[in-house]
Amino acid sequence: MKNSIHSLKKGEKATIKEFDIDLVPLKLLEMGCLPGNMVELLQIAPFGGPLYLNINGSHVAIRIETARVIEVEIIK
């Protein structure tokens, strides 16, 4: 099964892989969400709310719908 940011557990780190950029806002790319960069899941808002991430040193929150389309490789 392919992993996305959505499938990360709290505290897990991963490397961003290729993804369909049409489904992701440009602003997120500019925040550093680019293939090859690192992402860490810091916090999950309750009831399926946004994910609080550290992407390449930037701290951002995004919604699950967006997190789902960004494929990652989990770093063990």
Partner: protein, 699 residues
Amino acid sequence: MSIQNINVALIGNPNTGKTSVFNQLTGLNQQVGNYPGITVEKKMGFCKLPNNIKANILDLPGTYSLNASSIDENMVIELLLNKNDKLYPDVALVVTDVENLKRNLLLYTQIKDLEIPTILVINMADRMESKGISLDIPYLEEHLKTKIALISSRKGHGIEELKNLIVDYKNIPNEPCLNASIIDPEYFKSLQHAFPNQLLYKLWLVITQDVNFLNLDRNEVRSTFTKSHSELKRLQQKETIKRYQFINDVLKEGLKVDHTVATDFRAKLDRILTHKVWGYVVFFAILFIIFQAIFQWATIPMDFIDSTFASLSALAAERLPSGILTDLISQGIIPGIGGILIFIPQIAFLFLFISILEESGYMSRVVFLMDKIMRKFGLSGKSVVPLISGTACAIPAIMATRNIENWKERLITILVTPFTTCSARLPVYAIIISLVIPDERLFGFLNMQGLTLMLLYLLGFGTAILSAYILNKILKIKNKTYFVVEMPSYKTPLFKNVAINVVEKTKAFVFGAGKIILAISVVLWFLASYGPGKNFNEAEAIVIERHKDKPLDDFEFEEAVASQKIENSYIGLMGKTIEPIISPLGYDWKIGIAIISSFAAREVFVGTLATIYSVGGTDNEATIKSKMQEEINPQTGEKIFNFASGISLLLFYAFALQCASTLAITKKETNSWKWPMIQLVLMSGFAYITALLAYQLLK
């Protein structure tokens, strides 16, 4: 040597302390206004530099990149693309946060491509030690092709050095620091070939952005060099990757982080503040403190202002020679000004709390926590900010919706924000609550009046959210669910920033609303002091005639004449005309007048009653409150402001859209008259019905 004026533009990502740098450079020497035609806030300041140079410093809206996604960001691009603009910078300062240097440099590389002399300001240098960060400034200056000012706007370090760099702006390099056009050499080569006199990056911005650009026909550029949306975005992604590659290469040498030193204050605080239980507990506790405190603290200076102006009126009436002019001053202008100044304590408190929440970085955590809940109602987590700042004033709140990416969520936020209890409602609430709710404690510690006020705030929020839910079901707008919010690091709010913000906002409010209130008070005074026909002009004779069996003493006579006059003045006749419509709500014609004038702005309510009662009464010294307390309905002998009519009034003011400025801003932000008209009709209709029900059930 003569004085030389130069333009300096401050550019930077949000949360880099750009405004603190601005405040450090300009002190209190600032002006806040709007750019012509648009409601983007324009902050200008002045700064004296060495060598007789005077700098006009422009604080541009915070932006993450030159790929604009809001009108605030568009403004930045339009200014930077237009060399003929009188604000076009001689030198740009790109403000960055040392902890987020990598991301902040993205915007920097874009600005450099515009070939504007650019100084790189690296802010928050005071945090370097605790974060284990060290910088190789000469290396960075060489590779980023700039001069660097390492400063701490918080501590005031490095500001003088920055000023010296600005003075020396002619020696600041203005060439780009990387060549981004290699992402598609063929395309950019032919683009440059077609427009040899234009900057390549400018052309690229014109193609990708929705901005106006003088001297260049956008259609001309686009028709030959157009690409599909998806292709353009792919290129923009490549461009972004290219820029980051460059930045990473430079920072690999220029910036070292010792992770063993870094203390993670952010993580510790986040563990509590974004916790699934504690996060909400803290948020609601903060809201509770704000509201309970505002009602308790603000009443002290408010009572003082109220009684000061009452005695000032009395003094004016006593000392000035009697005549129309004195009446106008003591009964129209002085109560009018008092009616404006009385808001200052509460507005200042609200802006104080809001700016502390924003400055500290806490507001983003609220956005994070509330997003899922808000989405159930068709709103975004980002709607929390407008809904909270709506408690100060709906106008900046509606402007604050601009960073909501999703148009449907944004539109719904704009439409429901006026339900939140803005500060203009506060004086109305405050005076009515103090008249009809007993000043007692519930369970020994909850002040009943404070509790009622809090309930009214909750009612405002609740109605806003409920109507959002309904609108979400009705409105058929398809949209992508984009949502990206930066979580800035926590900072202790700077006193100077908060103070300047509070003073600026309060001033803007008092002068903006003040003009309307003062004008309305004067007009009201005229309408209340003159009337048509016999009933008004022969009031004395009528009163004598009416009481000829049992003559009145002097005092009673004066009172009777005054009330005969006010009832038959122009305003009295207007009030009497609408009385049938409002009497089912429990209001008399005087309140009717206050409601009519409130449609210009709600806060006029208290001032209007003050004017009507001072014209109608002979006693200038009593406060507005005591005058309202003594008002008796001549038919029933009951107090006008009783529990039922009080609650009915509170509900009416909670729901009705009585604010011309809100309608104007909704029109601007939605670009049509349709939405403000829907707002006006639905909100005011709803207000009438609930007030009617409340009075009929409670009386």
